[in-house]
Symmetry: D2
Subunit: 282 residues, 4 copies
Amino acid sequence: MQKAGLSLACGARAWRSVRKASSGMARQDPLANKVALVTASTDGIGFAIARRLARDGAHVVVSSRKQHNVDRAVAALQGEGLSVTGTVCHVGKAEDRERLVATAVNLHGGIDILISNAAVNPFFGNLMDITEEMWDKILDINVKATALMTKAVVPEMEKRGYRQGGSVVIVASIGAYFPFPGLGPYNVSKTALLGLTKNLARELDQRNIRVNCLAPGLIKTSFSKVLWMDKAREESIKKVMQIRRMGKPDDCAGIVSFLCSEDASYITGETVVVGGGTPSRL
Amino acid sequence: MQKAGLSLACGARAWRSVRKASSGMARQDPLANKVALVTASTDGIGFAIARRLARDGAHVVVSSRKQHNVDRAVAALQGEGLSVTGTVCHVGKAEDRERLVATAVNLHGGIDILISNAAVNPFFGNLMDITEEMWDKILDINVKATALMTKAVVPEMEKRGYRQGGSVVIVASIGAYFPFPGLGPYNVSKTALLGLTKNLARELDQRNIRVNCLAPGLIKTSFSKVLWMDKAREESIKKVMQIRRMGKPDDCAGIVSFLCSEDASYITGETVVVGGGTPSRL
Amino acid sequence: MQKAGLSLACGARAWRSVRKASSGMARQDPLANKVALVTASTDGIGFAIARRLARDGAHVVVSSRKQHNVDRAVAALQGEGLSVTGTVCHVGKAEDRERLVATAVNLHGGIDILISNAAVNPFFGNLMDITEEMWDKILDINVKATALMTKAVVPEMEKRGYRQGGSVVIVASIGAYFPFPGLGPYNVSKTALLGLTKNLARELDQRNIRVNCLAPGLIKTSFSKVLWMDKAREESIKKVMQIRRMGKPDDCAGIVSFLCSEDASYITGETVVVGGGTPSRL
Amino acid sequence: MQKAGLSLACGARAWRSVRKASSGMARQDPLANKVALVTASTDGIGFAIARRLARDGAHVVVSSRKQHNVDRAVAALQGEGLSVTGTVCHVGKAEDRERLVATAVNLHGGIDILISNAAVNPFFGNLMDITEEMWDKILDINVKATALMTKAVVPEMEKRGYRQGGSVVIVASIGAYFPFPGLGPYNVSKTALLGLTKNLARELDQRNIRVNCLAPGLIKTSFSKVLWMDKAREESIKKVMQIRRMGKPDDCAGIVSFLCSEDASYITGETVVVGGGTPSRL
């Protein structure tokens, strides 16, 4: 299974070193030689982030629950000349989390960056209708697995040493601040991530591992489709959210790469909203 | 078990009606004739809230996991001439939640108020040391059970009719905003409750059920003992929290009664911090 | 002028003592014997607060910029048997602030409570059209005068001694968190008050003077008329604010009285939103 | 005066075009050909931002109140081969604001970016001791002038056309959220800027002008010296702020450049805290 989960990464380092040779500045490859894990990254926001990290110089390991999605994403990104490999990972399973970590370590010798994007597809419906099983699933994957994925990665970041440090970015949602209508448990799980970010940041500060959070607004992905699946609903949610346009996955990628870069070395414990002007907090 | 879980409430209505006869104003008994459930209310903050609601005129059903604690609390409060009964309730168990609801309905004909205070005792330790089982326990009781307890109560509130409405107060913690050091999962679960409050408030608004939240600061209870168990730790946490004194359970009771009263009829979805000046949010 | 600014208060103490005699509990008159100044209190939210404080037992001094408004408010409240006097006060003028303080001290021997509600009528228009003079006026009255009014009152609160302490409530607005459309400078001045509350609370903590803040949502007053002056605009703003109904001034009064009472003695530096469920902050 | 206020910019475009020729990617010069005004930029955080914007490809106009500071900053930055000119500007004076705008327009044909960093040096002392004049000064410069500077620049941004848009970054402070002890009016003025950011963002959204805000934590500058002037005070403030190290001006520069870049095109109305893990908001 582990073998099957791995897509070929032959030549990844070579590709980057060619590109890097033509550049003299750190800024041009702000993540050069960094190794990044991105969960739930074969589509949507996660995929856009993975591509951006790789474009900015990182060796990226993508993952999601299905092998064919991993294969497709890896093929697409390798096709762009990026240093990307992948493995299947269901973040709710301890052995999958461990295999993801092992994959990166075996291939690249360590881990510097974790982007924790995995979340169950939100159920559309009232909180009063949500069953105990739905709550379990959503808290397990969106909250607990995020914490445990970080826990699995931190020892590898520590091995890099204090100076090099590490960077974690957790993907929450504007729904953490303002409930998306009809997505109660999803919203609540995302609010929890704001707190998880703060707590992890505080605890990992002394190891020079920074932990930040991205709160995307209404981004057009298959994941958020429940909110914009027909034109009427899209217009309605845009009005509620007071935005002119829905965001694109790429709108979320730059800030994540930035937060992982040296430029953000004094930023930790913070959440950045990428919402196109939708009401957020002061 | 259900029978055993019930303490005698004989005469509770009679007691109140005597007190009420001497008073002409609604303000003197702001919760007169309201029926209130309070979870985890045989000690500490929950107990102080239960007593206050009863003093303000409500019929209160206290509960916690152990029969002898329920008995002691009921005896103490009945001894003060208050309309208080009790039943054992482990909020993580569906049958216990249902029995608690049934107790109130059988005894008092319905439910107007839910104070959701139940939480597992916080584990002291690093997030990096927390096991999957600890996460399960804390998210189950602090978050999921709070949602499900509300779900169990809402149908009874609806039966009261739109005009009468209902009121839920969820007990979170200042740790929701600012991590108590060493209490990561507890803090995260409390952050989730801020979101749960918002989401429930929005969904239940059209039924005239208000949902608010209390975020106590550092309150001196057996529950928070891990933070002030010796003098050195108490002084240290007071300095971190920038407070002159620790709070008392009673410091939390007045605001909860207020939030359940007619005076708060335009307040819903809000969290009030009772923190003695500890840094909180704008 | 000072004389003219004073309305007759003859008998105020007598009236209260009669009412109090029939009551044995502190809760029935939570502000008994307290002396309260309320600025901008001859109409709307300020008037509702003044009435409530007086009903809860306080001696209240109302004020606003025009003598005939003061006279009318005092007459109305005295007509209800409340201990209320009044004086003209333009909070932007140092001599007016001093006279207001002197009035309360001369009449009642000190000051325990300040409700700072004064604000200029908001200009409707774009930030890009606001002149320097408009900014001056709005920052002067809404921010600076609030700080200076507090400064004028604090020495009188200190004279009461540490044990008795004092309580300040500043009236901000939900516009502090989420811009009311078209009311930019007003919104900004109210955001500043959230910070002023925090700063005053911290500084005055050691004198046992608590400082809290009220952030009303969309309340139906002549002041907010610009937002609901015709039916279409009212419906539009209600949709933007996601509320079922506009609030009434009385919806704001109970919480202010509560914040000034002994029950709130562990609450300082906090803002409470009274918004009927309109989006606010976590 | 205008002439005197201008430092020579000869060759600025030429320098950049040489550097740009060797680069094929937008990311290497994310602000290529943008024109940026930075107020209070001859020292500290403003200077670090100006340098970074220029390094990222922008033509930058620096400014502050004193000619010799402008000259020194321009000389230093031109010495690094950057496209930087400067002019004296006291942001509290309308004619100075207009001259600053005119300088950029005359030299570079328009304005794309405004970094509003000007603020009066904070007074150290209690709020209860602050005079009316001190309040005037601090609100005038920190709040009103920020709004008016933006107002002066927006017409030039609009001339660029909707597609090109514009970007404003306002420099607030962590003191906006959590009072720096002893710096009350400063803190309050910075809280106001959080609201100003929101209001400007909303109003300018339809013109495709984004407005964001930077809230630096404890950064080691001459400006913040009052907080760390001796070792004991530095250690004390670090403990209060729960940080391991004070920040450097450069720690603030990257995020500002990022917020002005195409990568941040879906980010508006947001404040980013650069605080090294100091408690901030969820």
